[in-house]
Symmetry: C2
Subunit: 327 residues, 2 copies
């Protein structure tokens, strides 16, 4: 199906559901731009969502996330599954866009119609991940991708957010990238379902592996005890074992009802974020009435503190017109 | 004055205003913990705020931000000014706190009672900077620090936020850290008041300098045309010239009314952030009524899209009890 230059949202959504890659790409762009059509598209996609398995991949810069993502894509393709990849790049006003740019290692999949790779910048987010990430995930899910890999660099809030979004979260480490036990003690277990020691052919990999296994043994009883896996993403050594570990985690999720629980949390977070964005827009609308400007002047003068100013602003919000918030 | 272990907010604030360093430290901790006393403290501080000059310092990892901050502290101290430093560190669940840890280069100022250095983690933020940053800034301002340096690594949203907070924003670059023109083209001019080529003794520094000057010449007319300065923070070479450039920018800010305009924007943003946090808490309260859980279940099932769910949630918020939002 060929898309016209200005296809309407319904037409675009229908094409994406039918597997049209260009329509998928355009829907994600639409989502990234927070287009007015977003609400309509979201409603059209909803009945087709909930099928894709979402695998999060995070870790410090340099541990080999892109190579590992690419290896996983290869492995899932070998099983005949369609794979979507959302690569979340920290952006910066220095570059104006994705910091890491095009992912060279993804090039091996460019010819494959059943692989869809998209970079999303984190700019203008409300936390770590791009605002658009959950919505882009819904597009790929509805478009029939069986597995969606969400890859993000482990800096700041993004890795916590990716764990909230994913059914299974892989945390990558590499030998010599810091003390494994320290990492494990400091909360890595809270987000990792599977710890992956990548670059397992390098010196020190066994040491990192044993540190992590030891630290996990010391950890208290958890509902799911994270597994530690070794991988050499470049050669593919350890890849079948990693896939098997992901399968074990997903079986466990299903048997325990944890898949459903995680997805409820994800939906709940998504609704809250959208509601907050609506409220934020609403606050902006109030500013047209110069109320915020007036309060800001008093705070800048020191005649009012910002908490009291916020209270005043919120009381305005409650007594303002009953019309819904700006989408 | 010695503080008791559980000083009340009024006592603590009075001590901080009188210059007690321990009271300042404890007030900032109180701010970081979003303690219930925050509102009271904020109101007590308000009449004493608005005096400090706020200088933001940002740049990519490795350009020498800490060394430059330390050099600036030395220079302002030589002028007899009291200097506060807020060092914003990206945090991570891997470390559970500040990623960069204690700032070794700040050690030279530890004995000086008129220098106060504090690291703030970015964890749990609503953007790039720590939620606590503007509040910690108010504490230092009220406590009589003439200059407050806010240093943050140039990754993600933090550098945009620091520019919004600062009167004068320095963007640091170093030779060989990427193409100066590219950086300049891509939006660096939007946030930088002064571009600092640090490590100016290194090969390539002249090239980076000329690139930036050239790029600025190509830029359209701006109210303030960013200056490009050379610095070798380690030796202090270029430091007096940098200080003079900061002075020029601050004189310009005052003569143009831009200082006031910037502070109004800062206050406005601060009020909005506090109001949004209140609304967020309010949304959380609604969840006690299981409304969000019910909506999340329908979104997870695909029978409702998240935008319609958010609308429903917000209509609840408007018809809920008229009591103010949870602080």
């Amino acid at each position: 199906m060929r898309m016209s230059a200005r296809a309407d949202p319904a037409e675009l959504t229908a094409a994406a559901l039918a597997g049209d890659r260009r329509a998928v790409a355009r829907l994600i762009s639409l989502v990234e731009d927070s287009s007015a059509a977003l609400r309509e598209v979201s409603a059209l996609l909803a009945p087709h969502t909930g099928r894709a398995r979402v695998i999060g991949l995070t870790g410090a810069p340099g541990v080999g996330k892109s190579t590992s993502t690419s290896a996983l894509v290869r492995a899932y393709r070998a099983r005949g599954q369609r794979v979507g990849v959302l690569a979340i790049d920290p952006s910066s006003p220095f570059t104006g866009g994705a910091l890491l740019g095009d992912r060279v290692r993804m090039v091996e999949h460019t010819g494959d119609p059943d692989v869809f790779v998209r970079s999303l910048a984190t700019r203008g987010n409300l936390g770590g991940l791009s605002w658009a990430t959950p919505q882009a995930l819904r597009v790929l899910d509805a478009a029939g991708f069986d597995v969606v890999l969400v890859e993000t660099v482990g800096v700041g809030q993004a890795e916590v957010d990716v764990a909230a979004l994913a059914d299974t979260t892989l945390v990558l480490l590499a030998p010599g990238m810091g003390d494994g036990i320290q990492a494990a003690k400091a909360g890595i277990m809270e987000i990792a379902d599977i710890l992956v020691v990548n670059k397992a052919d390098r010196p020190g990999a066994d040491h990192t592996y044993r540190d992590l296994v030891g630290a996990l043994r010391l950890a208290g009883p958890a509902r799911w005890r994270p597994e530690v896996m070794r991988l050499d993403a470049v050669s593919g050594q350890g890849l079948p074992e990693l896939l098997a570990a992901i399968d074990r985690h997903q079986s466990w999720l299903e048997s325990e009802g944890a898949l459903r629980a995680g997805r409820l949390r994800r939906a709940s977070e998504e609704i809250s974020q959208i509601a907050l964005a609506g409220l934020r827009a609403r606050l902006g609308d109030l500013d047209d009435g110069h109320r915020l400007a007036e309060l800001a002047a008093r705070v800048a003068d020191g005649s009012l503190d910002p908490y009291s100013a916020a209270d005043t602003l919120l009381s305005q919000l409650r007594t303002a017109s009953p019309a819904g918030p700006t989408p």
